[in-house]
């Protein structure tokens, strides 16, 4: 099993979610995030006082998947989140030891 994590542009969330649903995933977790990569922040000015905003708002999207789906899901994520402009984000996956569905106690693949 794998945890696929994607950091994407907030306005791409709807598109990415739809693409993942069409692929047939069973669930996902979305949270607000901020950070920087090659895209850096911007400057804001309030009554002449300048502020540098270093961190850019992003959305972090996490999906738990079966090993054999991981590569395809990463492809779907990358394709649907891409605008071709700087700041599109990153996608990665890490191995997962165990998964438990809290309500039933099912473990492993059954909990997906």
């Amino acid at each position: 099993m794998k945890l696929v994590t994607a950091i994407i542009k907030p306005h791409m969330l709807e598109e990415v979610k739809t693409a993942l649903e069409s692929f047939g995933i069973e669930g996902m977790t979305v949270s607000e995030a901020s950070g920087f990569g090659r895209q850096r922040g911007h400057t804001e000015v309030y009554r002449g006082a300048e502020y540098t905003v270093d961190l850019v708002p992003k959305v972090r999207l996490e999906v738990l998947v079966d090993d054999e789906d991981a590569k395809d899901i990463i492809d779907v994520l990358v394709k649907s989140a891409r605008t071709g402009r700087i700041g599109d984000g990153k996608v990665w996956s890490v191995p997962v030891d165990d998964i438990v569905r809290v309500r039933t106690g099912e473990r492993g693949l059954d909990a997906l």
Binding site: E44, V45, Y46, R47, G48, A49, E50, Y51
Partner: protein
């Protein structure tokens, strides 16, 4: 003798204007509240509401008498006992305007003047000390200055003086229609004095202290503008031609100042901002306040446009001079008030209701020096007294919250409240539960267990 009858039109307008001006203080609370960080929004607003509550009562007890009692000598103060507790003013005398209408109208001026000062000490003042300051300051600074500026000497039909007023309005004959000196220079210099006494906020010029809610600021500026028509046009103390000229001048000066501020920003910083528009509106209102009865609408546009540019540049002074006037009470109210007061000496036209000519309208420097003396007198009196009051309070009961309280936020330390609870998770993540005594702050031996413990760790991690 012709019997005087109650003028219901004038009375209706003054009562309406009083309510308009009252709304300016909650408007100011929004304007200031949006400009501070989220952790001090309630305290910022409470400083205005606290002034509303306390000054209203002091005004009735003795404030009106200090300001509008018969002069005790040299135009410095009204007789403190003449109207103490507003005695004698309930009687229906058939005067054109009931005394109580004027009492109410002037009360709301006293309130907003004190509330204006609070912008200079955002994020760091003890609320209890602020309230004591409000009581002392309004009593020994505002009430006398209101007497100097707003209390006119009255005569009967035989030119016999029936009431002696204050020295700036009568002896000096400086023009301050609605309070450039008494309200804005007065509050502006007091703000500077308190900013110096309290010192800079922790992290000033390092930590981000940007306005947390500019929509509140815009709403507040809108309410201030709305209420200001009562402030200025109501100061005609009648529903007449003067009030109407003043109304139009108040409209265009404010519009011109908003444009002036935005254009300044566009060329200096690259973008015209909403905070700039809101600030320009207030700067224009401040500047036209003393001048609204003595300039033409074209003159008012000039007063406003110059105020917009001047104040947009002046708000940068604090960074150069190193005082933390948090919300620019100096840059907007002191500078705008000084400009508006002096502008009368330059741009007053005989055609306007005040009937005086300034330097650019062939009147020479006669009015200009009167304006300058009036402005300087209020500046020095208020500045020096506020420094003394502030310094004594700071050294005795303390004016500033502890560094820990300041870091946590004055809403929490001074009022035990927070302004916002946004998002579905926030209450849970803060470990909040209903009812008193269940919080870990209240019980030492209460070991957090289970899910609560986890949440607590998340918050403190």
């Amino acid at each position: 003798m012709i019997p005087i009858e109650l003028d219901s039109g004038n009375t209706a307008w003054i009562l309406t204007s009083s309510a308009l001006v009252l709304l300016m203080t909650p408007g100011l609370a929004l304007f200031y509240g949006g400009m501070v960080r989220a952790k001090s929004v309630l305290n910022m607003m409470m400083m205005s509401f606290g002034a509303l509550a306390l000054v209203s009562i002091l005004w009735v007890l003795y404030g009106y008498s200090f300001a509008f009692g018969n002069d005790i000598g040299y135009g410095v103060l009204g007789d403190p006992t003449e109207f103490i507790g507003l005695k004698g003013l309930m009687e229906d005398t058939d005067a054109a305007l009931p005394a109580m209408a004027f009492v109410g109208f002037q009360a709301v001026f006293a309130i907003i003047t004190v509330a204006l000062i609070s912008g200079a000490i955002a994020d760091r003042a003890k609320f209890s000390t602020w309230m004591i300051f409000v009581g002392i300051w309004v009593s020994i600074v505002y009430f006398p200055v209101a007497h100097w500026v707003f209390d006119f000497t009255l005569t009967d039909e035989n030119d016999v003086v029936t009431h002696t007023g204050g020295w700036i309005a009568n002896n000096l004959a400086a023009i301050d229609f609605a309070g450039g000196t008494a309200v804005h220079i007065n509050a502006g210099i007091a703000g500077l004095a308190l900013a110096i006494v309290l010192g800079k906020r922790i992290g000033w010029r390092k930590d981000p202290m940007r306005p947390h809610n500019l929509t509140l600021v815009m709403l507040g500026a809108g309410l201030l503008w709305f209420g200001w028509f009562g402030f200025n046009a109501g100061s005609a103390v009648a529903a007449n031609n003067t009030a109407s000229v003043v109304w139009v001048n108040t409209l265009v000066a404010t519009a011109a100042a908003a444009l002036g501020w935005l254009i300044t920003e566009r060329f200096r910083d690259g973008h015209p901002t909403s905070l700039g528009a809101a600030s320009g509106v207030v700067a224009g209102l401040v500047a036209i306040t003393p001048a609204c009865s003595s300039v033409s609408p074209i003159g008012a546009i000039l007063v406003g446009a110059i105020a917009g540019v001047l104040c947009a540049l002046a708000v940068g002074l604090k960074y150069k001079l190193g005082y933390d006037d948090s919300l620019d009470v100096v840059g907007v109210h002191l500078v705008g008030g000084l400009w508006g007061t002096l502008a009368i000496g330059l741009l007053a036209t005989e055609d306007a209701p005040a009937g005086v000519s300034g330097l650019f309208y062939g009147g020479g420097v006669d009015q200009l020096w009167r304006q300058a003396v009036g402005a300087l007198a209020v500046l020095l009196y208020s500045g020096i007294l506020t420094l003394i009051i502030g310094f004594i309070l700071q050294k005795t009961i303390g004016f500033r919250v502890s560094p820990d309280a300041e870091a946590e936020g004055v809403d929490s330390s001074e009022h035990a409240e927070t302004g916002y609870d946004l998002g579905t998770l926030s209450a849970t993540l803060r470990g909040m539960s209903f009812g008193a005594g269940s919080s870990r702050h209240d019980t030492d031996d209460d070991e957090p267990t289970g899910a609560r413990a986890n949440h607590d760790e998340e918050v403190t991690a």
